[in-house]
């Protein structure tokens, strides 16, 4: 398993040299969404709390970074951590309210969606940050302002983000914190009876997850030089975030990465095929069908299923 990781890292490092601009853009998205999925995996996979409004943290992180840079001149390299901290604070509020009032399953899903929609509507009506039109960032091409002439820079930043997030999740997995989280997922009442402070660990997982997602907001804002409330706070982005780890295998280290390697090119392809004639939403139909198929046939996700198959037929 370790050698596989090293080989994958080597391929990932050398890949940009071989790709054309379009393939590179897809590769960046593969990494970026694997990163987002890994961040979600902490709360959604390991702790088993289905946050279905994770886009809100992308939005908060992105807007905070970009607006700070525009108003105070703060470099986005620092600003993104402010954005991440704000996202984490919001995550703490949502998590605390949701968990304190013991909202589980469907109720927690509704709460997270409702928060994301409230934020979307507020930002849409907030003229100071661009309102419904969105917030635009002047392209400078200056690396000190998180702006690059060459897209390969984005590739490596996304790669670093993914490696950092995966190491964090790996560390969590092997520490008491991660064991508490999976215990909470598997049987909350029992872990509480054994003395686990479930509220505290769930809120912590939510904060860590939303902090990482907030950093992704800065990445998004500066890569596209713009932010639109519907795009960064909307439900479609939340769906994009959760579907990869779920298809790949929620609560496994490799799940979000495998999910993103499969789904991102598929999504891009369907967008390229159907996007022209005003056929928007084709990729969402595809995601919906996939979601249904995964739930029916491989409810644990692809990675655990593969592991199961391999174990049954030893090579």
């Amino acid at each position: 398993m370790r050698w596989l990781g090293v080989a994958a890292a080597a391929v990932a490092l050398l890949l940009p040299a071989l790709l054309g601009p379009y393939a590179l853009a897809i590769a960046i998205n593969v990494l970026f969404f694997a990163y987002l999925g890994q961040a979600w995996n902490l709360i959604g996979g390991y702790a088993g709390q289905l946050s279905a409004g994770h886009a809100v943290f992308v939005g908060v992180g992105g807007y905070a970074t970009a607006v700070l840079a525009a108003e105070t001149g703060l470099t986005p390299w620092i600003g993104m951590f402010v954005g991440g901290a704000l996202a984490a604070a919001l995550g703490a509020v949502i998590g605390y309210l949701g968990f304190r009032f013991r909202l589980r399953g469907f109720y927690f899903v509704l709460l997270t969606v409702a928060f994301a929609e409230v934020c979307r509507i507020i930002v849409t009506n907030w003229e100071r940050v661009g309102g419904a039109v969105g917030f635009y960032i002047t392209f400078t091409g200056d690396p000190r302002r998180l702006s690059f002439q060459d897209d390969r820079a984005w590739y490596y930043i996304a790669l670093v983000l993914l490696i950092v997030a995966t190491s964090i999740v790996w560390t969590v997995e092997h520490r008491r914190f991660g064991i508490y989280l999976t215990a909470i997922r598997d049987d909350e009442t029992a872990s509480e009876a054994l003395g686990v402070d479930t509220l505290r660990y769930k809120v912590l997982a939510m904060m860590l997850s939303s902090f990482l997602t907030g950093l992704a907001g800065a990445f998004y804002a500066y890569r596209y030089s713009s932010l639109q409330p519907n795009a960064v706070f909307g439900i479609p982005l939340s769906v994009e975030i959760i579907i990869r780890p779920i298809v790949g295998g929620a609560g496994t280290l490799a799940g979000p990465i495998v999910g993103s390697i499969i789904l991102t090119p598929l999504g891009e392809l369907s967008r390229a095929l159907f996007g022209q004639g005003g056929w928007h939403g084709a990729h969402l139909v595809l995601y919906g069908l996939l979601l249904v198929a995964v739930v029916l046939f491989v409810p644990q996700g692809i990675v655990p299923w593969l592991r199961h198959v391999v174990r049954r037929r030893p090579a």
Partner: protein
């Protein structure tokens, strides 16, 4: 509005399945009414019967083909499954009908009656009356017929119902179908009043979750009263806030309800 919530409450109350596709089912009902009206010239106040029938079949199919297979799986799986169904339904509507809002024209909708100093919009009155009649019919169905009684029995205690010889799976399928038919009829009936587009599904879902949770999940009377309450709150919000902020009311309402009164005003069960 209330009729839609009654349908959702029926599905949730009986099967503990959260129908995320509820609003999208309503939108499909609306588009069906629109197709019937624009292609065949069927008035939506007649066509709603066909819409209800079509959605009944769809609900039955979703239950039999999908939900039935995972009734025993963890709750999360059902949520994801219904999320998938909702995504497929909303975006299929988007692919087929496009994002522009459409409106169904009914010859009756243009008419207005003057009653003394008041003027009454005939379309709204008609929608309200038919919805009321349908809700009453549903009530009779649930409380006065054998099938209705077995639906309520399966909701109360599925194991007990199984023991006394109820075909619980069939009852579930019928309940899901009836729930979907309600929302289909609700869609067809609101189509002449309100312009709509595929993205309407989400706000319809949220509105019905609001209503059902306020009214108490699984409580049909609660759903009906909740519908009235939420409509009033949203209209008040529309008066005091700018139109673009109107949606804020329903989502904020949802958060507050979830936190402080998750069992609803009329429900007894804790979540």
């Amino acid at each position: 509005m209330s009729l839609m919530a009654v349908g959702l409450s029926l599905i949730f109350g009986v099967m503990r399945v959260v129908n995320f596709a509820h609003g999208d089912m309503m939108v499909w009902g609306m588009y069906l009414a629109w197709l019937l009206a624009s292609r065949l010239g069927v008035d939506p106040y007649v066509g709603f019967v066909a819409c209800a029938a079509a959605l009944f079949v769809l609900g039955l199919a979703v239950q039999r083909g999908l939900v039935d297979r995972i009734v025993d799986a963890p709750h999360e799986m059902q949520i994801l499954l219904m999320l998938g169904v909702a995504l497929v339904m909303e975006n299929t509507a988007l692919l087929v009908f496009g994002p522009e809002p459409v409106r169904v024209r009914s010859p009756l909708a243009a008419a207005t009656w003057y009653v003394g100093p008041l003027y009454v919009d005939v379309a709204r009155l008609l929608t309200f009356t038919v919805a009321l009649a349908l809700s009453a019919a549903l009530y009779v169905f649930l409380f006065r017929t054998d099938l209705g009684r077995s639906i309520r029995a399966a909701a109360d205690n599925p194991y007990g119902a199984l023991v006394i010889g109820t075909d619980v799976r069939r009852v579930y399928a019928v309940a899901f179908g009836v729930g979907a038919a309600c929302v289909g009829a609700a869609g067809a009936l609101t189509a002449p009043i309100l312009p709509f587009s595929p993205s309407f599904g989400l706000s319809a879902s949220v509105a019905s979750f609001n209503i059902v949770i306020i009214g108490g999940l699984g409580s049909l009377l609660g759903a009906f009263l909740g519908g009235l309450l939420v409509s009033v709150a949203e209209s008040l919000g529309a008066i005091f806030l700018t139109p673009s902020l109107k949606e804020l009311v329903s989502f904020s309402l949802l958060i507050v309800i979830l936190l402080f009164r998750p069992a609803g005003l009329f429900g007894k069960r804790a979540p």
